[in-house]
Symmetry: C2
Subunit: 238 residues, 2 copies
């Protein structure tokens, strides 16, 4: 089932559409909390590869520095507080279990910054993955509630950590849904996502609609199992 016409239309729209008028973000320092985990390492690698200054954070500065040295590409390592303090935009890639506690402890360092939550609260059992109920509605809404002095967005939920970390993969064929209330902040995050080859940052609603974006990872895990894939999502007609 080849689709030359629609595919070409999508590619053309990618040039003229969502990437247009996004801000220049090349000067921004990006922090990645939980940057020694699979998702965090992968995002750090891709953003640094795209030319971004990147600091990965961990509870242990030593572990962060060792991981950064291993990743290369000018990536620095620091404890979470220094990572947050030294960055303009801070990606939250910590495990869901430590999400609230980590954010509360960094409230001062994250004040005035753009926070990008990419955490997917999922449970796992014999039948696979399923979404956890979050009292605030979603991980992103929990972050917004805990960080009243930050501008919280949500993005980077659907990326395969395997593909992100595989340096033989030059392009990752997926869009990044970006959610948030503040247009300047969501456009900054869209621009960051769009710097990674193969990706486009697409505005996809307010934080009250983050739960289903986070939870959809459970479905992608089912897709990956059935088709032995590293599934991503492309938004068509944009």
């Amino acid at each position: 089932m080849t689709q030359p016409d629609s595919v070409n239309a999508t590619a053309a729209a990618a040039t003229a559409g969502p990437g247009r008028n996004l801000p220049d973000v090349s000067h921004l320092v990006v922090g990645v909390l939980g940057g020694t985990g699979d998702q965090g390492r992968g995002l750090a690698l891709r953003l640094a590869g795209a030319g971004q200054q990147v600091v990965i954070g961990s509870r242990s500065a030593e572990r962060a520095e060792a991981c950064a040295a291993e990743l290369g590409r000018g990536i620095r390592g620091a404890d979470n507080a220094a990572c947050a303090a030294d960055s303009d935009v801070v990606i939250v890639a910590v495990p869901w279990e430590g999400h609230a506690e980590t954010l509360v402890s960094l409230r001062a360092e994250l004040a005035g910054k753009i926070v990008v939550d990419c955490v997917n609260p999922l449970g796992f059992d014999k039948q696979g993955a399923y979404p956890l109920r979050v009292p605030e509605g979603s991980a992103a809404q929990q972050a917004a509630a805990l960080l009243p002095d930050s501008t919280v967005t949500a993005a980077f939920h659907h990326l395969s950590a395997v593909l992100l970390q595989d340096e033989s993969v030059e392009r990752i064929d997926t869009d990044v849904m970006v959610l948030g209330e503040d247009r300047a902040a969501t456009e900054t995050v869209q621009a960051l996502a769009s710097r990674i080859p193969g990706m486009r940052g697409i505005f996809a609603g307010r934080l009250r609609n983050a739960h289903q974006v986070e939870s959809l990872v459970a479905n992608l895990i089912s897709v990956n199992r059935r088709y032995k894939a590293h599934a991503g999502l492309r938004i068509t007609d944009v």
Copy 2:
């Protein structure tokens, strides 16, 4: 941002991947409850255009027959009960408000059949669309709870009713996520979706993961507003 390599890879996978080994569904009669609404009309048109026998159902047989005559392509119209009784596979495209009541009233006619729920329980306010909380978890799980003698699946959530009904649009560039517990049933629905030009039916998990698939329509509505699009979703690497 053109992506000729990854796009070609996706098109090639479409031939070899999820469409492989799906059953022949060309002989099945497809009923569409709520077939006089925008989504129902659009699905009826596309499935009939793909060669499927289609019956649209409505509370009023006269309205269904008038709508069917207008649509052409051999589509028949009937009241909901006759539509369900005469069909092998029954798509539920009624408004969320009438969902439970309609299904309960058709329990006998739907017994032993594949039911395909495509209902998205959404609310709307000044800030746009948002997911409604459903006691059973999702519209599809509500259908499964109300129809113990049917095989309930969920699919066709993310299609633009505008594109479906626009006969000048030959291909709709989107995948159809198909959810359910029963492999034969989900593969039948995947095969039906895959008959529509541009679409692939992709297995995307069990019904407990239907809520986020239904709710994601709220995000697509935000995408459509921002980019003046009729957004769809393509699953990459499959």
